[in-house]
């Protein structure tokens, strides 16, 4: 214990907090933290004081009061006698429906445009360059409004379909393109299984049965292909699977649809509008197309960057082994390129999800238009509504981010 370190012992002084490099960084960090907390406290205090000055309280009770307004696009049962909370859920579902649709099409558009931009065909490559540069350099809101305006101004009104010599007619007698949206045939089941009540939502058992059967068929097909691969590895001969695949994929669903009495419900002009079938409203189409083509341009660049990041030697090696160009892209280049593509793709998906809030501009009833728009306006609960809306967007975005990160971990390079 009586060891002398050799260095002179100096007692701790306050000045060392500022001049001694061992303590200085702590001093600065603690000081910054205190400032941040003081700032937060001031904001909270200011908010409370101002709410008090306005005579307002802070409460989420409005979510349980009757909303009194109607929503055009309703994925679940809703009318003006339901609550503001239910209206917010309808809005959230509309947001999610739009986000999923736009993410899917943007990815398809982006991958095709990105690959084609690298094409050796000069015209194709230049056309894709024009697409990318035009669409990503104009604000997305403008594209949305352009689509919306084109739809409502240049498509025929439903009343143009009336009469013996109508000014407009349906495509294949099945699809009606009007200035209020596109009406497509919808599924109907004669021997319906009915529906059940799940947390106030009534999902149709028919749809669930169809989805379950399709999922099971695909799973069975995957098992079959795995078995074929195993046989191929063991014996060198791949057993013929195509007719088994077709049978497994198509037979069960055909039998189910026949048993349920499936037929298509064609849209038909009755009264002011087309009735029957499924209506894709103008607002949905404008948002969907606008977001897809805009974000597709960004994804095209991400895909192109991902492909260019793969060393040219990989392609040359594949060609040297006699692999066809299309298989080279599918089996050699893209699996490696995905590692580069997926992380920036996540942020594009998040962008799409957040950009759905532009729906208000064309009257798409998403979360922003219901909870953040009409509900706030009718109840005067700006602070509560905005905070709740931000929290919901945050949770949705984090969920997408988590799911995509899990996928990214699966495709990334496994280093040992």
């Amino acid at each position: 214990m009586a060891m002398d370190s050799g260095a002179p012992q100096r007692s701790f002084t306050l000045g060392m907090l500022l001049y001694d490099t061992r303590y200085r960084s702590y001093t600065i960090q603690i000081f910054a933290l205190i400032l941040l907390m003081l700032g937060a406290a001031w904001l909270v205090d200011n908010t409370i004081r101002n709410l008090a000055a306005l005579g307002k309280d802070f409460s989420f009770d409005f979510l349980w009061s009757t909303s009194g307004y109607d929503i055009s696009q309703r994925p679940i049962e809703y009318d003006s006698t339901y609550t503001h909370g239910r209206a917010a859920i309808v809005g959230l579902l509309n947001t999610l429906i739009l986000a999923v649709m736009a993410c899917a099409t943007a990815t398809v558009i982006g991958v095709i445009a990105g690959v084609l931009r690298l094409s050796k065909n000069w015209i194709v490559a230049k056309l894709m360059t024009i697409y990318v540069e035009t669409f990503r350099n104009v604000p997305v809101l403008i594209w949305i409004i352009v689509v919306s305006a084109v739809m409502s101004e240049s498509m025929p009104a439903p009343r143009d379909f009336r009469g013996d010599t109508p000014a407009a007619s349906m495509v294949f007698d099945a699809v009606a393109i009007t200035n209020r949206g596109v009406y497509v045939p919808g599924p109907l089941f004669d021997n319906s299984l009915g529906s059940f009540n799940f947390l106030g939502v009534q999902p149709s058992l028919d749809i669930i049965a169809v989805i379950a059967v399709i999922a099971l068929s695909i799973w069975a097909n995957v098992l079959l292909l795995r078995h074929a691969a195993k046989v191929q590895n063991a014996t060198g001969i791949r057993p013929k699977t195509w007719w088994k695949s077709i049978l497994i994929l198509l037979a069960p669903i055909t039998i189910l649809l026949f048993a349920l009495g499936f037929h298509l419900d064609y849209p038909e002009l009755r009264g002011f509008n087309f009735q029957g079938g499924i209506q894709m409203r103008n607002s949905l189409l404008a948002m969907w197309l606008g977001l897809s083509i805009y974000t597709g341009a960004f994804i095209a660049e991400i895909v192109r960057a991902g492909i260019l990041a793969i060393n040219k030697g990989q392609t040359e090696a594949a060609f040297a082994l006699g692999v066809q160009p299309s298989k080279t892209m599918r089996l050699v280049i893209l699996p490696q390129a995905l590692r580069v593509i997926v992380p920036p793709l996540i942020s594009q998906y998040l962008n799409i999800t957040k950009n759905t809030s532009l729906g208000l501009a064309v009257g798409y009833m998403d979360l922003r238009s219901t909870l953040g728009g009409i509900t706030i306006n009718q109840t005067g609960r700006e602070l509560e509504g905005m905070m709740l809306m931000m929290l919901i967007y945050l949770v949705v975005s984090l969920a997408i981010s988590t799911a995509m990160n899990i996928y990214n971990n699966r495709v990334r390079l496994k280093e040992r």
Partner: protein, 338 residues
């Protein structure tokens, strides 16, 4: 991350809420201009003319208040607001007065924390349809597509009306009157619904107004009036009595033409009190004794404003109807200046 979002909200709320230092009257007088919230453009009520000067029935209220408080009817900074932004703009202090054909309702008055200073137009919600549809009554509208402005009482009345009459409809929510007009003319909706006065104003701006009919049903009561923030009674009183002064001036026969002559003194003590030649009503409000005189000089009395902006001689062509003076069988009535 969650916390920073939370703080951001609070910051926004705090910035928006940082008023309540001086009284609104002192703030307005110090600034030298009145911030008045109006619509984004409804002909006859509030819209800029060819020279960019705001004109209209609601605009006249702003000008009268500016004239009474600042002595200059042009010292108004007009802030266009939509149905969705108007209340936030008023609550946050961005505007001092909202004159934007806003319906006086219980929850807006009590829960949202505003004070309606009176009614300058008694209205009701109506429907407009193209003549070629052949619809003659709102009860024939089952299944129709209806354009509505979001964030308004019309949205709620519409839901109630179709529900009570057991009809279905397809709402097309729209932010401003101009967008609604474009959608309606393009045929993206069969029906446009808003206050009947707004329908008349919108129809007047069409190329062929005769091709559109306003259905006879009026489905709601819509008392439209200017409003201010709750909590500053002096400012609410000023706005209330400026509006009353315009109404009383019509009843007492004070017009912009005979104002100077009347202000020199008359045999009628109520006119003298109104115009400040007798008593000190202005001082009680914290204004000059000539506040009502300035307000009337800005655009004339209530009847003159009505006739010049939305009356039968204008393209909008609204009859006085409920908005005639109480002496003429209407509902327009000012309490006594005493």
């Amino acid at each position: 991350m969650k916390q920073s979002v939370f703080l951001g909200t609070l910051a926004a709320a705090a910035v928006a809420g940082s008023f309540a230092s001086a009284t609104t009257l002192e703030d307005v007088q110090a600034a030298g201009t009145l911030n008045c919230g109006v619509s984004t453009g409804v002909n006859g009520f509030s819209a800029p003319d060819a020279n960019g000067v705001w004109q209209g029935f609601d605009v006249a209220v702003c000008r009268a208040v500016a004239a009474a408080v600042l002595g200059d009817p042009m010292a108004v900074n007009f802030v266009p607001t939509t149905g969705q932004t108007r209340f936030t703009a008023l609550a946050s202090g961005e505007i001092d007065l909202l004159a934007r054909n806003t319906t006086w309702t219980f929850s807006r008055d009590v829960d949202l924390g505003f004070t309606f200073v009176g009614v300058n137009y008694y209205d009701g919600q109506g429907f407009m349809v193209p003549r070629e549809l052949g619809v003659s009554s709102a009860t024939e509208l089952d299944g129709a597509t209806v354009c509505i402005q979001t964030g308004t009482t019309t949205e709620l009345n519409l839901a109630d009306y179709f529900r009570v009459n057991n009809m279905s409809y397809e709402p097309v929510p729209i932010e401003t009157n101009a967008e609604a007009q474009q959608q309606y003319l393009a045929g993206a909706c069969d029906v446009y619904t808003t206050d009947a006065s707004g329908l008349a104003a919108t129809r007047a701006s069409f190329e062929t107004p005769g091709d559109h009919v306003i259905l006879p049903e009026i489905i709601s009561k819509e008392p439209l009036g200017p409003l201010v923030r709750q909590g500053d009674d002096q400012w609410a009183d000023i706005n209330r009595w400026v509006l009353n002064a315009l109404i009383a001036a019509e009843e007492l026969g004070v017009t912009s033409a005979n104002l100077e002559q009347m202000a020199a003194g008359t045999d009628n003590p109520e006119i003298n009190r109104l115009l400040g030649t007798e008593g000190d009503l202005g001082a009680m409000l914290g204004l000059s004794s000539e506040f009502a005189r300035n307000a009337i000089a800005a655009g004339g009395n209530y009847g003159e404003i009505f006739a010049a902006t939305i009356g039968e001689a204008t393209p909008i062509g609204l009859a006085r109807g409920l908005n005639a003076q109480w002496t003429q069988g209407g509902l327009i009535y000012a309490p006594p200046f005493r």
